[in-house]
Symmetry: C6
Subunit: 265 residues, 6 copies
């Protein structure tokens, strides 16, 4: 059924979206622990449901987690894994300075295009920015909110299938806006939370010697942490600018300073 | 009188609306228990009143209930059952990204068309979305609210008859907006609330063996539940993606996880 | 003087308004008790004052009462009884979807037309809808409010006379808006409040046999009620759809269910 | 100096304003007691100051009092008494449905015209309506407020003189808007507050016989009251529609009913 | 350096501004006490700083004080004293009914003109009116606020010098708007506060005889007062309309009535 | 790598920005103490990270501190030190009176230009003014906020590098707007806080004799202070207008008066 659709879908849209997906995945997905596996597995099941002929026409997923947790990269990964011929990205990056009506129109257009294809996947990145959410007030674009509330529940035309993958770092705000209940499923994208998680990332990088890694491992062993994968990769970039000998100390002190790992009692 | 109108009504509008009604009824109406019967019966009586020559020119019904309870499908069913020659759907699905004035104009046009026919039925789906209701603020389109408050009470021209069927999952909001008192009658669309209700649905599906059903029946017997028919049908779709042997367990655990059925004490 | 004006008034506007008045009076005025008489009498006195040569140029009346109490019908009746040659209706029914400035312009035009006639009567129906009053917020059109506050006090040109009859089911809101003090007089349109009141209406209808009426009379005797005449007439319509034998029981149970009559202790 | 100005002022604007002043004074000024004398005297002094060559170029007066107290009529009387050759009326009656910017423009134009004349008088009636003051919110036109705050303090060009007479029944609101301190002087227009005040008005009317008046006098003697002269004249109009014999009783009962005079203990 | 600039500045703008300065100074500056001297001295120092070649390019002064305290006249005096060849007035008097964007544009234009001259002085009168400050809400033009916040700190082009003199009677509001810290210095314009202060003004006027003045002096000696110089001059104008013999009494009673001087215990 | 980019970058934009940087640095950077060194050092490290080939494409810095602390000058210094061929300034000085959409467009254009260059540096001065932040309300431009929230995190196209340097004196407001977490790093620009700090600045100026400086040093020794470098330089300018002999006393008394240094107990 899936292959059949692939063969018969007349308007596959490779190109632009693929490139954007790669940008989102610039550093790949490093499997630093169970939370990553879990998101990928649950995601796969939902994709199957979306692709299955006797399933519902519409499956919508929300990937929610702290800033820098890796939400956008995981959304891109799922979109790639789906193998759906039509993939489209709806990202605030491409709508800087748009009025709310322009934003709304753009979103609508992306969905309208998706409805025309047999198997479509729409990635809606950073919902709170699409909604122009400003915490002082608070303010938000009700026009965009209403559009999303409808689009997240609107069935594609008979026989077509649509997979929607959204990301947000403001779950609570979406909840207040009564958007959470619109999703088929909500998957949590976690921060790295143990020394072991951190070590998985450090080992993949080329910034440290074996000795460094061993030192780090002993220092981090058993400590609680809370840092997003994007932040951690950024800090590693920073220590790379410094003298190889001082990197371990530098990284540890930066991690403690900013509160990303617990201080040793 | 009803037949006479049928014969003489010059602008019956089959087609578009009929198709939309079918979409709304994609999985039909499964009579899973008394609450369903009750809505259908009360609905029939109100339809008769709307069709009767010496009745009032206007009958308006609100179908209200939780998200996924089956409101839209039941509204479509009543509209079909009415046999009224002119049926028109007013749905937020068709107004994504409309400004409030565009929405208002569209609604007005649908009613104006309806007034031109002898026997008309207008289905107004998802009123809170038509009103652009955003719970943070809260915000809503007062222009649309005012239009609906008038249209729900405005008699069609002399001799014509109009049946209005609305749906909403925000009864309390409509109450605050003083819209509830505008309806001739308000019918509650309930969630499935007992194991027996759930079994009625499960039996209709082709996802389970007889043994599965027996197992489910014993597990669900006497337990309280609260789940919308649309949600339940969706979960059945999901378990269909999994190994036939694990479906019963999978469905039960999912139902418990999401709080749709009480945990066994 | 009144006759003289009638003969010399050059722009009497029969037609449109007359038809609309008839629609408002579709079921006539049934005198179900003292409150009805009282409104009609007070209204007559005010009409005389408006018509009298040495009276003031402007008389304005507010008919206020609960939804369905019969305000619009009574306003229409007074307008008809006045015998004023120029009668104009200003009703939200005719302004669905109007912006506040369009509404305002329309209202202004109606009054400007009225000022051109010697003896004019303007019926302003459902003021809260003209004001686009939305209870959440609350919201209202200040443009329209300001226009009405001025128009309700503005004398017609020298020698002309103007009778304004308004209706509203939101007295308290008008009070907060400081509109109440603009009227020459405010008349309360009451709900039916006793069994005797109800019997007056039931006797006029063709839905019940003599026996039915006797049964009803004994059941309703001495009970307190609170129901608008429009609602009651609607319920009678509904029971007419049912078997003649069950009508009495059906009507009584419906009245009790909805709280329109007190339960018997 | 005053006469000189009269002779040399090139653009006197008789006509329109004069007519309007007469409308405002349709029933003249009845001197029902000291409060009336006091307003007229203070007003005269301020007019002299405005007209005097070595006085300031600008004098502004606020007449404030309850609705119906006679503010507009007294403003008109003062404007007439001033004998200023250029008199202009700025009244909300002429701006029904104007947007705030249209209102503002109109006000500005009136003042600009006034600046062109040697001796000008501008009557600004009903300031709270010009400001579109709506008590729910509250709302008001800040554009108009700012314009008035400036215009009330802006000196006319060198050598010219300007008298501004404003009326308002919302002194407290103007106070909150910090407008009160803009006036050269604020004069209170009082309600009639004693039986003697009321008798002064009743004696002027042709509605009562000598006997009636004697009866009234004895009934009202020593009682406290609070009624605006416009309201009282209106009530007299109303009782004139009734049988001459019942007028005294009718008027007294109406006055008591509406709380305009104290009940006899 | 100052003279050099005078000679070489190509676009001096005499005329319009000069006339306006004279209007602001219609009654001159009477030195009624130390507070006046102090403002003039501090002002002079700041002007020197603005004019000095090795000083900063920008000096901004706020004159703040109660309504009628004489702020505008003192601002005009300082502008005149500066001897700067380019003087421009930015006053709400000239922007009645302007939208906020029109106001903003006008202000911007005045500053842009100033930047083109070597030595410029801009008088910004009555900032709270430029900001359309309405205390109910409160409301204000944020567009104008932002423009002023930037313009008050923006250095003129290299080598040019700019002196900004602002007035306001709402210091606290400017403080809340964080505008106060934008000024180089803030000078307080005080009300007259002692009998001696008042006598300085009375002696300058031609309204009183020597005897009158002696009487006044003894009556006022040692009493506390709080009255703006503009108000006091206005009251003197008023008493000039009355009989020379009663002037002393009239003025004293008026001053006490309005609370401008303390009552004698 | 850095040099390679320099050679190959086709659109270096010297000129306008360079001049503006010089204006911002009109009085140079005086190293008055450790806080200055610290900002310059941390800044250098971040610049290296931005320039490094295997670093991230985007580095963003916030310089935050009290008004007059020297934020803008330090931002300009870092931009100059970076040696990046494309430097662009985004300053509210150049957007006076711009509507929020015009501001937004301008900001977007600056970033779009930067993305076209291999190595770009954008200085965003005074973020709270770009956001039109008004503390009463509070008010701000949500359009601009949303644009900045996206632009601060948006990676430049593959292979290009972008350094963003922002300044703000309202850290807390940016925090509430959830903008702080968008920066790679936040550097605090401190006020001078000790007598030693002040002496460093005084010694650089040509306003004092050696004796003066010695006197000052003894007076300031050990005292706490809190004054921005811009304010201090301004006060030195002011005392330069006065007699050389009184300068020390004048400066000290002014510093104490305004609370910039603690009073001696
Ligand atoms: N297991 C992982 N999950 C997610 N991202 C990963 C993982 N391993 C490596 N990455 C890399 O980490 C980065 C995650 O950044 P990403 O933009 O997805 O974070 P984000 O949560 O969307 O951040 P923001 O809150 O700013 O939107 C990407 O460059 C990605 O390639
Ligand atoms: N007894 C039933 N009542 C209603 N719907 C039923 C019933 N039995 C089966 N269905 C099917 O269940 C689905 C109900 O979905 P529907 O869209 O009507 O729910 P809803 O309450 O309108 O949801 P939402 O809150 O999202 O608007 C339809 O596909 C319908 O065919
Ligand atoms: N005594 C009566 N007073 C008023 N209406 C009566 C009376 N007797 C019969 N009627 C009929 O009752 C109906 C009253 O409806 P009407 O529209 O006037 O009520 P309403 O109070 O204006 O309702 P709403 O609150 O919806 O505006 C009319 O059809 C009228 O013909
Ligand atoms: N002493 C008096 N003072 C004022 N008006 C008087 C007096 N005597 C008679 N009148 C008449 O009373 C009426 C006063 O009405 P007016 O419109 O001035 O009242 P108002 O206070 O302006 O009312 P509103 O509050 O509606 O604006 C006028 O018709 C006027 O001719
Ligand atoms: N010492 C003085 N200081 C200021 N004004 C004086 C002084 N002596 C006389 N005057 C005169 O007093 C008047 C002061 O009025 P001005 O308009 O400056 O007051 P203001 O404080 O700006 O009032 P407002 O609060 O209405 O803006 C001017 O006419 C001025 O010529
Ligand atoms: N160490 C220093 N740090 C910063 N500025 C210095 C330093 N030494 C001297 N300066 C000079 O001090 C002035 C600092 O002014 P700048 O405009 O940068 O302050 P700011 O904090 O941006 O002020 P604002 O809060 O008004 O934006 C500049 O003229 C600069 O040349
Ligand atoms: Mg992301
Ligand atoms: Mg639905
Ligand atoms: Mg009605
Ligand atoms: Mg009036
Ligand atoms: Mg002033
Ligand atoms: Mg700065």
């Amino acid at each position: 059924d899936f292959l059949h659709a692939l063969e018969n879908d007349i308007k596959p849209a490779f190109g632009a979206a693929d490139e954007k997906l790669d940008t989102f995945l610039s550093r790949g997905i490093i499997n630093w622990g169970d939370p990553v596996t879990s998101v990928l597995d649950d995601g796969e099941l939902l994709i199957q449901q979306a692709a299955s002929a006797d399933g519902p026409g519409l499956v919508s997923i929300l990937l929610e987690g702290a800033p820098n947790a890796g939400k956008t990269a995981l959304a891109a990964q799922l979109a790639k894994d789906s193998g759906f011929p039509f993939v489209k990205i709806c990202s605030p990056d491409d709508m800087v300075g748009f009025t709310e009506s322009a934003k709304c129109l753009q979103i609508k257009k992306i969905f309208d295009d998706a409805y025309r294809s047999m198997l479509s996947c729409v990635v809606v990145d950073n919902i709170e920015r699409l909604l122009d959410y400003g915490p002082i007030g608070p303010r938000y674009s009700n026009l965009t909110l209403q559009a999303l509330l409808v689009l997240l529940k609107k069935e594609p035309p008979k026989g077509r299938r649509l997979l929607i993958i959204c990301t947000s770092s403001r779950r609570q705000v979406l909840d207040q806006m009564e958007m959470i209940s619109c999703f088929t499923d909500v998957l949590h994208v976690a921060n790295l939370s143990t020394g072991t998680h951190l070590m998985s990332i450090l080992k993949q990088s080329d910034a440290f010697t074996k000795d460094d890694l061993a030192k780090m491992a002993s220092k981090l062993s058993g400590r609680k942490a809370s840092v997003g994968v994007k932040k951690l990769l950024g800090l590693i970039d920073m220590v790379k600018q410094t003298d190889p000998k001082s990197r371990v100390v530098k990284l540890l002190s930066k991690l403690e300073e900013e509160g990303y790992i617990d201080l040793v009692a």
